[in-house]
Symmetry: C2
Subunit: 341 residues, 2 copies
DNA sequence: GGCAATATTGACACCGGTTACCATAGCGTG
DNA sequence: CACGCTATGGTAACCGGTGTCAATATTGCC
């Protein structure tokens, strides 16, 4: 076993002690099939005795590839980012890959330089880009230019399916809003996500499709915009509730904003769900944590992350694997039939 | 600028094009002082022209050190983990360092092997260990054995101050509980954290010290244990509220459990804070998000993370830098005077 | 037993940087 | 003008792995 403080054993030490060449040791490490069992066992014994572990930097240099995946994001939602990280780690567990993370500020003027430097310096074998960054086609161009493999997480049809893992937000929202309609709601508000977000657009469309399918109006006064934060959820919720004719139900484009809507309803003495039904999106931890527990739409972040990581690790298999994942409606206690009237 | 798909330029290309030796290019990269300005400028021009970026793997191999920091954790609290990641990234921004993350399951029987493999394989320049993992002295021994630099994030006095960044949880809790007492509360419950957690112990002691200083009883029936999750917070809260003589205020050892307490109080028709005051710990996003906004104690995770990363990057400076950080009381709306009676 | 075919193994260059040490140029001196 | 010094730059070896290809050992077969 490795002794404290001493230099780590190298492939040369193993070769010398087992009386074979470096190359043979290398073959043992890489499980080359053209190798005598006796030799293999002899070398493996020495490896175990020395506690030898191959140096990943040397390997990366010789192979001209680095067993490191990168994750680039700028996301207000901690739980989502963490779920994603977990999913990636599921995929690389027990492999030689590692995950380096690179959060950025998407409003920074140096964003592109920042990402370029990150990619050039680290020479990753691939990167995953989370929304909303992933919605920007300019990044795809940058990664192509840098010769860096990448996968974008998206919520909609984007250009290049080989570099994409997506969920079907639109259908998920439509299903959720249809449930509200089925329960008798007729005025259903929308707290939509920020301008320029693909996910915001898709969820908006899901809401619209559900209403239009039932011949219900989708007028603009039923829509308020937030920016995926709790505070803006409160503001948007307040704007909708200020109408003369407030909605009896509100769909918010993410859980955090939905929590803001619940919050502001409460401040105004409204009971959720009796006076107002609320539905969120994401099914992050907050959904089950607030009172009342939030009805929401879950998208399988962790599963998608696993898939994204696998695409980077096994590029050949990339195009075979499913890359569109269904969402799931999660009914909880923040929705009910509307109060009559 | 780097052209798409082509092999990246190496130090040899730069040397050839600028008509000097590799070594001279290396000197330029490393800003060696014994170098003619004319030569330097010539080489720098070629570097810019080629878009040359040194290969970090080759560097790591030659220098026998890897510019990568690791972060090991098993934490139920997403916001805390993310804040920590942000802090580390503050510290390594604009440097050549990268951060790799390694979440683990602390109940896994293979935990030690898992961490050992991670360290041996990645050859990091240092790792940061988050609570509750950081409270286990066996890890420190493991890292010492592996010759891996490390910093433990702790909430209490631990063995080795050079490898430790801590916050003063006990004082923070004492201050918070003293505020409750000052408002007139006399029966103050404690939802403590899981057995074996140093942070749980320290926060428990803070509660106890505050009560004892005022001569108030701290009997065991005022204590219920959770495991830092929302569900167990609900259960512990329910246990305390089931007393014949329920507390008028409850301190929960983290925000998530505090949210659970608020939740269960609500289920029983109690109004927070009128019928029950609740204080949490951490000041993660959930604190401001639930209703009513939670009074809590903030520990400066991000600042501490920055400090931890700096300790790993500049080991010489490690012992000079402050390594005990104060907490801060954050009053919000979940506390008030007790209802009389 | 001799030979070709095949299974194993080794020698050596190379990946892209670094360090140790040497060579040369420019310059002041005796 | 030979000499020694400093400033600068080059050469070669090395970090710890990998690929190529040739060398050797073993085996099957006549």
């Amino acid at each position: 076993m490795g002794r404290t403080g001493e230099a780590k054993p190298t492939i040369n030490d193993v070769a010398r002690l087992s009386g074979v060449s470096k190359k043979t040791v290398s073959r043992v490490i890489n499980r080359s099939p053209l190798l005598n069992d006796a030799t293999r066992e002899k070398v493996e014994a020495v490896i175990a005795q020395l506690g030898y572990v191959p140096n990943p930097q040397a390997r990366a240099l010789a192979l001209r590839r680095n067993f490191v995946l990168g994750m680039i994001y700028d996301n207000p939602n901690a739980q989502m980012v963490l779920n994603f990280q977990e999913g990636v780690l599921d995929a690389i567990r027990d492999s030689e890959y590692a995950l380096v993370i690179h959060p950025v500020d998407r409003h920074s003027p140096t964003l592109f330089d920042n990402i370029r430097r990150f990619i050039e310096q680290q020479r990753l074998s691939g990167v995953m880009i989370l929304p909303p960054l992933s919605e920007n086609d300019a990044f795809a161009a940058l990664f192509d230019e840098l010769g860096c493999n990448y996968v974008r997480m998206g919520s909609a049809e984007l250009a290049d399916p080989a570099h994409l893992v997506q969920s079907n937000d639109r259908e998920g929202v439509r299903e959720a809003v249809e449930c509200l309609i089925a329960e008798g709601h007729r005025r259903i508000g929308l707290v939509e996500g920020p301008e320029g977000f693909r996910s915001a657009y898709e969820r908006h469309q899901g809401w619209r499709e559900a209403l239009e399918a039932q011949g219900l109006p989708c007028d603009a006064s039923l829509i308020a915009r937030g920016s995926y934060t709790f505070e803006t959820g409160k503001e948007a919720g307040a704007a909708l509730l200020d109408r003369d004719d407030p909605p009896t139900a509100i769909f918010a484009s993410n859980d955090v904003m939905a929590a803001g809507v619940v919050h502001v309803a409460r401040e105004r003495g409204l009971d959720v769900p009796r006076d107002l039904s609320v539905i969120g999106f994401d099914d992050t931890a907050i959904a089950a944590t607030i009172w009342p527990p939030l009805t929401t739409v879950r998208w399988p972040i962790r599963t998608m992350a696993r898939s994204a990581a696998r695409k980077l690790i096994h590029p050949e298999a990339a195009n075979r694997e499913q890359s569109r994942f269904p969402t799931e409606f999660v009914p909880r206690a923040s929705t009910s039939r509307p109060a009559q009237g």
